[in-house]
């Protein structure tokens, strides 16, 4: 089966991301199954900026650690990634760089300067060369470049041609197409969260920039005109979440996006959302912490924080999508359940998921069309009296928007009675606490169970237990281990709170052994499972160096 990994690497400012995106889009237009991952330093100039694109005839669940074609834009990145080049792999690099092995040297800087009088187009010369070596359809590539650069396309097209000519003949072979145009979508996790929110009826976002959560802020800002969104860049995260609560009180579905550090500032507002029973959706793009940590790297360090954050006791819903496709649907589900139960809902992604490109079937907005849980104005007007926090069997009280009838909609951060008036009546306090917590009973039933891969009995198998964006890596690791005669399975959580425990008991009873595989150092899901069920994993695999877990890495760890 054809399966190649192309790795573009240079310094920040050399246009690696631009070139990578163009290449990925050209592969997408050509119907190739692909996955693309980005890794970069937290700086505007220099450092590392890498874009890995895997093309395969199977399903690409991630990229690979090794490289079939390394395209290096500077010496540092050449040295850095040369060890990953597989046997028989190729290197395309700037003419003056030093490397042993099969190297195709392109004087890209020179050509861009001398022949185009546009030194910055060196990266496009390299792209032309790389595309030729790989055998990407150059017609399609030109089409993508034309769209991307608009009226500045001509020089870039010339740059592509120069690079291609210099590279000569194709040396690799692209995999066969597996779909035709229109049958798939190409998107990043960040775009998927934004699109899912819009499809679910979200029309308001207030946030403060924090990598990698900013991707959703930028996406929404750019979609604002098309969908009639209000996008407000707040002065900090405390303001952001309180603004969102104000909008949600007004009846508008609201989103905030941030990372762990920003979420830390939002925690007061999270607790407020719990108290005033006002829905809000919080996207947390995880990155390594504590504090500023590694701003542009990835990790899974906020599971326990997301589940436990906030003073006081109140229900919440927490999801951790495995792919961009799932990020779309689970973001929409987060909005739905936040509205249905009048609770905060949290979406845990990470830099890896937010910045990676993957394919999916065309997203179906119809499947997640918003259902209104707000009390219609007419019904509200017809009511004799309106109690915003009426005590009900389900714990869910009728939620009305303010200003639609003469009935008042009162909310209070202090403990309050069913009308919304501040109270210190201890009997009411007890009833209100129980009412708020009662909502979790039905919420639990709305949470999807963990999934099992491959299906079948777990008898004698080792279960790798994971959550969130590591799904693809663990799944591929399971396939590799089983192909090697092993007996492994993946149990994976995409909806992590309230934690579904029924299935877990069965899995633990049946499996020979359970190993938690997580992007953190302390095994946060393993700890959550132990806390909720008393079940303990027999082993843990953790990665916390800021890079995503890989299938190869998991297989290595299992072997130890």
């Amino acid at each position: 089966m054809m399966d190649i990994v192309i790795r573009l690497a240079g310094a920040a400012g050399q246009g690696v991301q631009t070139v990578g995106e163009v290449l990925a889009r050209a592969a997408f237009r050509s119907g190739l199954s692909l996955y693309a991952e980005q890794s970069y330093h937290s700086r505007i100039r220099g450092g590392e900026n890498a874009f890995a694109l895997r093309l395969t005839e199977g399903t690409a669940w991630g990229t690979r650690e090794d490289t079939d074609l390394l395209v290096a834009l500077n010496q540092e990145m050449l040295d850095n990634y040369l060890p990953t080049v597989a046997d028989g792999g190729l290197v395309v690099c700037e003419a003056e760089l030093e490397a042993a092995g099969k190297v195709i040297r392109i004087p890209a800087g020179q050509m861009a300067k001398d022949e185009l009088n546009l030194p910055i187009a060196a990266n496009m010369v390299m792209l032309g060369a790389a595309a030729r070596v790989v055998g990407i359809d150059e017609q399609v590539l030109s089409e993508v470049v034309r769209e991307a650069f608009g009226d500045k396309a001509e020089l870039n097209l010339k740059a592509l041609a120069l690079g291609g000519e210099h590279a000569g003949k194709p040396l690799l072979q692209v995999p066969l197409s597996t779909y035709s145009r229109g049958e798939r979508m190409l998107l990043t996790g960040g775009e998927a969260v934004g699109a899912g929110a819009i499809a679910a009826g979200c029309r308001y976002l207030s946030s403060y920039p924090m990598t990698p959560g900013t991707a959703v802020l930028t996406y929404m800002a750019n979609q604002a005109g098309r969908w009639g969104l209000v996008v407000e860049q707040a002065e900090d995260e405390i303001a952001a979440i309180n603004m969102a609560l104000g909008a949600a009180y007004a009846g508008v579905r609201s989103l905030v996006t941030t990372s762990g550090g920003g979420f830390a500032l939002m925690v007061e507002g999270l607790s407020l959302a719990g108290m005033i029973e006002t829905p809000v959706v919080i996207h947390i793009g995880q990155r390594p912490a504590p504090a500023t940590g590694l701003p542009t790297r990835t990790g899974q360090e906020e599971l326990l924080f997301a589940v436990h954050a906030g003073h006081g006791e109140f229900p919440r819903y927490v999801v951790a999508p495995r792919t961009a496709e799932e990020a779309f649907y689970l973001t929409a589900k987060a909005f739905d359940l936040a509205e249905k139960y009048q609770i905060p809902a949290l979406i845990l992604t990470d830099q890896y998921l937010v910045d990676s490109y993957s394919l999916c079937e065309p997203l179906d907005a119809g499947r997640v069309a918003p259902r209104s849980y707000l009390l219609p104005a007419g019904e509200l007007a017809a009511m004799e009296s309106y109690d915003r926090f009426a005590l009900t069997a389900s714990g869910i009280s009728p939620r009305a928007a303010p200003g639609v009838s003469e009935k008042l909609v009162l909310v209070d951060s202090d403990e309050h009675d069913s009308y919304g008036r501040i109270t210190e009546d201890l009997q009411i306090r007890r009833e209100m606490t129980e009412k708020r917590l009662r909502k979790e009973l039905a919420l639990r039933e709305d949470v999807a169970p963990p999934t099992l891969y491959p299906d079948g009995s777990l008898e004698g198998r080792t279960v790798l237990l994971g959550w969130g964006s590591t799904y693809g890596a663990i799944r591929e690791a399971v396939d590799m281990l089983n192909a090697d005669g092993g007996s492994y399975a993946l149990v994976h959580f995409s909806e992590v709170w309230p934690l579904r425990t029924q299935e877990l008991e069965g899995f633990f009873a049946e499996a020979a052994c359970v190993v938690a595989v997580e992007g953190n150092a302390t095994g946060q899901l393993a700890r959550l499972v132990a806390q909720q069920t008393g079940l303990r994993v027999q082993g843990r695999i953790g990665r916390y160096d800021g890079r995503p877990l890989t299938a190869e890495g998991i297989v290595r760890e299992v072997g130890r």
Partner: protein
């Protein structure tokens, strides 16, 4: 989709390149990460020359930065330094100053860090009047994270988070600092290296809270998105539009795109400082006990 890159490649590294202020620099951290044409390098130089001219012992000065391009200053100076979380350099400097009053605390940070997420801390520090120097490099946007709009982005300014142009009124930092009670307020552009140096010298030796705004180009983000040209073009713009008027009313110092704006020293007053009042109180109480 792809963005147009800056036209010029960074200049080649000068082998064995030395900086005259090397004694104040962590040379092992050089080359720095800032873009060619960025205003940050010159502002740091001015600070170092000011230190040198005053003959300050680097051990007597702590540099505290927040997060962002300017936030990286703390990492390049050979002084005790602290790279805080986003927005928090002023509270950290406050604690440092209260616990170790004989150490000079210089906060070096950006407009987003000091005036968005850290805005509350700034106004209270100005009011509190401890001996803290705050140097804000204002480049009109968030550079490090790719050019989001910020609290100083001009109306209409294009940023990644204001693709339709910004429609939030920006702060006039000079006016803000003055109205919050800062007894020393000055503004220069990153072109005015000598004046910057002199202003920093004044700040370093004076008592009380001192605020300096440095208008600096960010050719990579704000400049590029708003078609202001290269770093040099932006500097030329500032050279043509900055009008020196010491003592001008801070209310008149607004910066508007395409219009002249005022630079200079706007406030220089003697106000009793927190530390003086604190010491007086201590002396009074001790006197009473005896």
């Amino acid at each position: 989709m792809p963005v147009k890159e800056k036209k010029q490649a960074p200049p080649p590294e000068i082998a064995q390149g030395r900086h005259p202020m090397e004694k104040y620099l962590r040379t092992d951290r050089i080359p720095h990460i800032w873009c060619a044409g960025c205003g940050l390098g010159t502002t740091v130089s001015s600070f170092l020359y000011a230190m040198d001219n005053l003959g300050l012992d680097p051990d007597s000065v702590a540099v505290i930065s927040g997060i962002g391009c300017t936030g990286r200053v703390a990492g390049y100076v050979r002084m005790d330094s602290y790279h805080t979380t986003h927005g928090r350099p002023i509270p950290f400097a406050t604690g440092l100053k209260l616990a170790k009053p004989d150490m000079k605390a210089v906060v070096f940070s950006g407009d987003g860090d000091l005036f968005a997420i850290g805005g509350n801390h700034f106004i209270h520090a100005a009011r509190r009047n401890l001996d803290i120097n705050v140097i804000c490099v204002n480049n009109l946007n968030y550079g490090m994270t790719g050019g989001q709009a910020g609290p100083t982005t001009p109306l209409g300014g294009r940023c990644t988070t204001s693709p339709y142009g910004n429609f939030e009124h920006p702060f006039n930092l000079v006016y803000l600092a003055a109205s919050a009670g800062a007894p020393y307020v000055a503004r220069w552009t990153s072109l005015d290296v000598r004046r910057l140096q002199r202003a920093i010298e004044e700040m370093l030796v004076r008592k009380g809270f001192a605020f300096l705004e440095i208008i600096a180009p960010c050719p990579t983000n704000y400049g590029r998105r708003n078609k202001l040209g290269e770093g040099l073009d932006e500097l030329r713009y500032y050279a043509e539009h900055a009008v020196i008027e010491h003592g001008a009313d801070p209310a008149d110092t607004e910066i508007l795109p395409g219009k002249d704006f005022l630079v200079g020293k706007f406030v220089d007053e003697e106000e009793p400082t927190y530390w003086e009042m604190y010491q007086d109180k201590v002396a009074e109480l001790e006197g009473g006990r005896r």
